[in-house]
Assembly symmetry: C2
Homo-oligomer: 256 residues x 2
DNA sequence: GGTCAACTGCGTACACTGTACGAAGAATAG
DNA sequence: CTATTCTTCGTACAGTGTACGCAGTTGACC
């Protein structure tokens, strides 16, 4: 996959766009479009057909204008993506679970998971140096709230939130890739495995990989894809929170 | 980022390519290239300039042939990527640490990390349904060895290996993205943050995000990028293995 | 040795991409 | 009324993966 990148323009212009602070022009003709309208069209396309289908020409077509018209509203595609990101972050419920850090982190993980599942193209946008729009800021604040006041340092709070977010990203990416490959190929994972095994055994000698054969077969016969993804997510999240729990316990009673 | 996909051709052809079992043709002129030569050229480009730079035309140029010539050796770009993947997996040392599952899993994580750092383009290829070449098989076998015989079920073994691999993928992706964005923008994260804060405060009122301000400042002043990535990796891996540890302890002494 | 089938290399073409440039027209300030 | 600013958008450019078909080379068979 190719990564899609944010706009690298100057901070002032980007923040103006994200916070909708562009001063209305006085002199020329009235603009036919709005930033929100363009973003909505782009989101419709990305949600339905993926990020690869979201070209500037396609978005322009959706709005009934020429492709270059969009460049009057956004410096480039990167900035459009930035605003799309901040916009979908606005859909997070951001429920706060007070008094129970584990339940709160669990909620953070699940809301992020839902968001990725609703907008799979999010998995493909690079988010180091996120666009600092209102919803990106609110999301980070909400996530930190989950681990505030439980004895972690500021640095550990940030690392923990990043850890959970990274985990969710990876888990959903795997699940979505699996879902997409099933659709594209018209084969389940089990069918795919069964189509390969005979050739593989003849050409590469499966007996040289006893653990892979045993475990691979167990996984293939036990799981079908959606169930698998669901359980992998639950399994990993539990391990992760157990790990954080050990740290929190250590911070709460360090003189032991 | 756009995902790059594997070839979807029939298993026989793909496995033939991966295991180098293509019968040498008897009739026509001798081929001027070899599968290994093409893969080596493609790897040189991908390692140096990234996956986006690795176009069929560029690989062909590197070898001094026309673009379409490559299609005599690979059905398409996807299959070339498959063989590239299996090839770099061959560079893993695959050191076995006997008798200590935690050290063994740690080794798995670190070797995978090194591999991703050496070939960052690996982060962008989708690996659900990996190409079943000799090195892909050996890697999976080696990873399962780390968690064999410690009381986990076959399903838990697979889930644990997948969890560690997913974690490493995510951690390295974050680190590499950060490294790349610093290079492209010529700004460190701290400089970037300091360039945004004044505009952000004026336009969006930072006082509404007290935790973000506090933690963000702490992170910004304490870390520079490479140190940050290193520590984030260590921190997360420790949490993860602590979580697995809790499960293993539970399986070892379940009647407590 | 001649013939034919199989094989290799590769030029051209097609439908895409993001976006630089500049022309044509509309709205308003003076 | 004019000058300025602002809009829409056609055209162009350098890329992408790869389908198609042609020219030339080689070895197998008669």
């Amino acid at each position: 996959m190719k990564q899609e990148h944010s706009g690298s323009g100057d901070p002032a212009k980007s923040l103006e766009l994200l916070w909708r602070r562009r001063p209305a022009p006085s002199r020329g003709p009235k603009p036919a479009l709005t930033v929100d309208g363009i973003v909505a069209a782009a989101l419709r396309i990305a949600d339905a057909d993926g990020l690869a289908a979201m070209s500037m020409r396609r978005v322009a077509d959706e709005l009934g204008v020429g492709a270059m018209t969009l460049y009057r509203y956004f410096p480039g595609k990167g900035e459009l993506l930035d605003v799309m990101l901040d916009t979908v972050y606005g859909d997070l419920p951001r429920r706060v679970v007070p008094g129970d850090w584990r339940a709160a982190l669990d909620e953070v993980a699940r809301e992020n998971r839902e968001l990725y599942l609703r907008h799979p193209w999010l998995l493909q946008v690079a988010i180091s140096r996120p666009p600092l729009g209102p919803n990106v800021m609110a999301k980070y604040e909400w996530e930190l709230t989950a681990v505030e006041g439980i004895g972690l340092t500021d640095l550990e709070m940030d690392a923990t939130v990043a850890l959970v977010n990274g985990y969710v990203h990876g888990a959903v990416r795997t699940a979505v890739e699996s879902r997409q490959v099933i659709q594209r190929s018209g084969m389940t994972d089990k069918e795919w495995w069964l189509a390969h095994v005979p050739h593989l055994d003849q050409i590469g000698d499966l007996k040289k990989f006893p653990l892979s054969s045993r475990v691979g077969t167990a996984v293939g016969s036990e799981f079908d894809a959606p169930y698998d993804a669901e359980h992998a997510f639950e399994y990993g999240l539990e391990r992760l929170l157990d790990g954080v729990s050990a740290l929190v316990a250590n911070r709460t009673a360090p003189e032991g």
